[in-house]
C-alpha cells in the first residue's frame, strides 16, 4: 500500500480560498458606516473562490503531475485574478480590501507558484515544446508580479504619488504614445545608440593600437582607468557646455562611460589566444594582420561581446542621466525630471517602463548577435547537441 502524498501548495490554496468565502471581503466605508461589498453580491468572485476550493482540493489529492495539470491550475488562477480585479474596480473593493480578499490572493499565489514550479521543471527533447516552456515561465512570473503590484496598490488604496498601479501606468503609456516615441527617438536612437557606437568603436580601435604599441599599454590603460572612475554627474554638465544641449553632449557622456569597459575587455581578449595557436600561426609565417584577423580577433570575440553587453545598459543610463543637465524639451530624462516636478508620477513610471523595455531589447539584441557570432564558445555550444 502506497502512502498518499498531499500537494502542500494546492492544500494551502484550497484552504485559503475556503476561508476567503467565510471572512469579510471588504472593510467598512467611513461615510455610510456599511460594509462596502460582500462576496455574495459578486457572483463572479464567489464562483472563482468556489472553483479554487474545488480545484485546490482535487489537485491536493491527485498532485500536479503533468504539464496539463499545471495548465489547468494556471487557468484557474488567471480566472481568479480576473475576478479579483473586477471586484476591486467594478464593485468598489479598491481601497477597502479586507481579510477575505487577501486570503483569496494567497490562494491564487499558491496555485501560480505550484504551476510555474512544474512548468519550470519541464523537460522535453522536442525543441519547440522546451522553448515554449522556457518562455512561459518568465512571462507567467512577470505577469503575476504585475498582478500583485496592481492588487496591493489598489486594495490598500496606496496614494498614486507614492506608487501608481501598473494599469494606470499602462493606460498612460498607451495614451501618450506620441510623446513617448519622440522621447525614445531623442534619447535612445539619437543619443544612446550613437554614443554607444562611437564609444565602443573607438575603444575597439584604440585597444588594437594599445596591443600593438607597448608604451600605450603602460601609459594609456591606467589613464583609461581614471577616466572610467569620473562621476557621470560631474562630467555631464561639462559635456553640455562643450557640445550643446542636443544629443551630441549625451553621446559624449556615453562615449566616456562605455570607452573603458570596451578597451579593457578587448585588450584582455586580444591576449586570449593561446601560445600554441600563436606558434601555429608562426609556423605558417603568418604576418601581424593575418594573425590578428584569423586568430586573435576571433579569440577576443567573447570578451568584446561581454563589453558590448555591459555597455548596452550603461549607454541608456548615461543618456537619461545626462539629460538632467540641460536638454531640448524632449527626451526620456527630460520627461522624467519635469513630470516628477508636476507630480505626474504615472508618466514618470511610463518612461521608466519604456527605458526598461528599450534597455532589455537592446541587451537582448546584443546577446542574440553574440550567440550567433560565438556559437563555437563552450558557453553556447552545449545547447547545440
Amino acid at each position: 500500500m502506497t502512502q498518499v502524498k498531499l500537494d502542500k501548495f494546492c492544500l494551502v490554496g484550497a484552504v485559503a480560498a475556503l476561508l476567503a468565502l467565510i471572512f469579510p471581503l471588504a472593510g467598512i466605508d467611513g461615510d455610510t458606516g456599511k460594509q462596502v461589498a460582500f462576496v455574495g453580491d459578486i457572483p463572479g468572485l464567489a464562483s472563482a473562490m468556489a472553483l479554487c476550493v474545488i480545484a485546490g482540493a482535487a489537485f491536493t489529492w491527485i498532485g500536479v503531475c503533468t504539464i496539463l495539470h499545471a495548465g489547468i491550475l494556471l487557468a484557474v488562477a488567471v480566472f481568479g485574478a480576473w475576478q479579483a480585479i473586477d471586484a476591486l474596480y467594478d464593485y468598489g473593493v479598491a481601497g477597502y480590501a479586507s481579510t477575505g480578499f487577501w486570503l483569496f490572493i494567497i490562494s491564487l499565489w499558491a496555485f501560480v507558484w505550484r504551476a510555474i514550479d512544474v512548468i519550470a521543471n519541464y523537460h522535453s527533447l522536442e525543441t519547440v515544446k522546451q522553448q515554449s516552456a522556457n518562455i512561459i515561465v518568465p512571462i507567467a512570473f512577470g505577469v503575476w508580479l504585475l498582478f500583485v503590484w496592481e492588487v496591493v496598490v489598489s486594495g490598500f488604496g496606496v496614494p498614486q504619488v507614492l506608487l501608481p498601479p501598473p494599469s494606470m501606468i499602462g493606460v498612460r503609456f498607451v495614451s501618450s504614445t506620441d510623446t513617448m516615441m519622440a522621447d525614445f527617438y531623442q534619447t535612445f536612437v539619437k543619443a544612446a545608440l550613437s554614443g554607444y557606437v562611437m564609444g565602443c568603436g573607438s575603444a575597439f580601435l584604440v585597444a588594437i593600437a594599445v596591443d600593438r604599441v607597448p608604451f600605450l599599454k603602460r601609459g594609456l590603460l591606467p589613464l583609461g582607468n581614471m577616466v572610467s572612475a569620473l562621476p557621470i554627474i560631474g562630467v555631464a554638465p561639462i559635456m553640455v557646455m562643450w557640445f550643446g544641449f542636443d544629443w551630441q553632449s549625451k553621446a559624449a557622456v556615453i562615449v566616456i562611460m562605455t570607452f573603458f569597459p570596451m578597451l579593457v575587455n578587448t585588450v584582455t581578449g586580444l591576449n586570449a589566444a593561446g601560445k600554441l595557436e600563436k606558434d601555429l600561426m608562426a609556423t605558417y609565417a603568418s604576418g601581424y594582420w593575418s594573425t590578428l584577423f584569423r586568430l586573435r580577433l576571433p579569440a577576443a570575440m567573447p570578451f568584446v561581446f561581454n563589453a558590448l553587453k555591459i555597455n548596452s545598459t550603461l549607454a541608456l543610463i548615461g543618456a537619461i542621466v545626462a539629460e538632467f543637465f540641460g536638454t531640448p524639451i524632449v527626451g526620456m530624462g527630460f520627461r522624467i525630471s519635469t513630470e516628477v516636478g508636476r507630480m505626474n508620477i504615472d508618466m514618470v513610471w511610463a518612461e521608466i517602463a519604456l527605458a526598461a523595455l528599450a534597455g532589455t531589447a537592446f541587451y537582448g539584441a546584443v546577446a542574440y548577435v553574440e550567440r550567433k557570432a560565438t556559437s563555437w564558445h563552450p558557453s553556447f555550444r552545449v545547447r547545440r547537441h
Partner: protein, 275 residues
C-alpha cells in the same frame, strides 16, 4: 670532428641523399632568474631526405626544444643549423615544414575543413584550390565526411588527425611532429602510427618525430636519436633497417627487441650521468 660525425657522414655517403636538416655543435641556453638553463648542448645531427627520425629521451632532455629550433620557434644560442641549406627563419618564411603540436590546436570557430585550409588561406591560394587540397589532406588521414563538423564534435584522436591533415595540406616536404599521439590511448595510438607509416611510405616526406615511447620510436623510425637531460644532448643515434611498409607485427621480431634494448640502455646510461 667527433667519431659519431664521421660515422654519420660515412653512412650518408653511399646513399648520397640530400641533407634536409643539418645541425653542427648546436647549443641553446635559456637565461632565467635562477641562472642559465642549458637546454641543448653540442648537438650534431643530419636528417636526410626521406628519413623518419625519432627523438626519444626523458622529459627535460630538450627533444621538443630541438624540434622548436628546427621550426624557428626558438633561436639557438650557439652552433650552426640549416634547413634545406638555408637558415630556420628563411625555411619558416618559405613554409618548408608542417608542424604538428602535442595538442591538436584546432581553432574552435572554424569547421574541420576551414581549419585545414587555414595555412592555405594564409598562403593566398584560390578557394577552389584550398577546398581541393583540404579534401585530399582529410582523405589521407581518413577524415573525409567530417569537413563541416566543428573540432569539439570530434574525438581527441580525430582532432589530432585533423591537425595532421592541416600540416599536410600545403605539402611541405618536412614534417615536424612533437609528441602528436602523447595524449591518446594505446589502441588509437597504434592505429595512428600505422596510418602515419603508410603516409610516410607513400609521400616520401622527411619526418622528425618527438616521443617518449620506446616501442613507438622503434616501430616508426629509420633513425632513432636518443637524448639525455641537463644539458640536453644526443647520446646515441641508431639506424633501423625495417622496410618502409612495415606492420605492427615487427614488434615481435628479435631485431625490434634488440633495437628497443639498445634505446633503453642508452636512456639508462644518459640518466646515469646525473647521479
Amino acid at each position: 670532428m667527433t667519431l659519431k660525425q664521421v660515422v654519420d657522414n660515412v653512412a650518408a655517403m653511399p646513399a648520397s641523399k640530400k641533407a634536409v636538416v643539418d645541425i653542427k655543435d648546436l647549443s641553446l641556453t635559456f637565461q632565467t632568474a635562477d641562472g642559465p638553463v642549458y637546454a641543448l648542448s653540442e648537438v650534431d645531427l643530419t636528417i636526410e631526405e626521406g628519413d623518419f627520425v625519432s627523438f626519444i629521451g626523458p622529459s627535460g632532455c630538450g627533444k621538443t626544444t630541438l624540434l622548436r629550433v628546427i621550426a624557428d620557434l626558438e633561436k639557438a644560442t650557439g652552433g650552426e643549423i640549416s634547413i634545406n641549406g638555408v637558415s630556420p627563419e628563411a625555411a619558416r618564411e618559405a613554409r618548408a615544414y608542417g608542424y604538428v603540436f602535442q595538442a591538436p590546436a584546432l581553432l574552435p570557430w572554424r569547421s574541420i575543413e576551414r581549419n585545414v585550409t587555414l595555412p592555405l588561406e594564409i598562403m593566398d591560394l584560390s578557394k577552389e584550390e584550398r577546398i581541393k587540397r583540404a579534401h585530399d589532406a582529410l582523405k589521407l588521414v581518413e577524415l573525409n565526411g567530417f569537413e563541416k563538423k566543428f573540432p569539439w564534435q570530434l574525438s581527441g584522436g580525430m582532432q589530432q588527425r585533423a591537425s595532421i591533415a592541416r600540416a599536410l595540406s600545403f605539402d611541405a616536404d618536412l614534417l615536424l611532429m612533437d609528441e602528436p599521439f602523447g595524449a591518446l590511448d594505446e589502441i588509437v595510438r597504434d592505429h595512428l602510427n600505422e596510418q602515419l607509416l603508410k603516409l610516410w611510405a607513400r609521400t616520401n616526406k622527411t619526418v622528425a618525430f618527438v616521443t617518449h615511447s620506446i616501442p613507438e620510436a622503434v616501430y616508426l623510425s629509420s633513425k632513432i636519436v636518443v637524448m639525455s637531460p641537463r644539458p640536453g644532448r644526443i647520446i646515441d643515434v641508431i639506424e633501423t633497417k625495417f622496410p618502409k611498409d612495415r606492420t605492427l607485427d615487427i614488434r615481435e621480431t628479435p631485431e625490434f627487441l634488440e633495437i628497443a634494448h639498445r634505446v633503453r640502455e642508452g636512456l639508462r646510461a644518459g640518466h646515469g650521468h646525473d647521479e
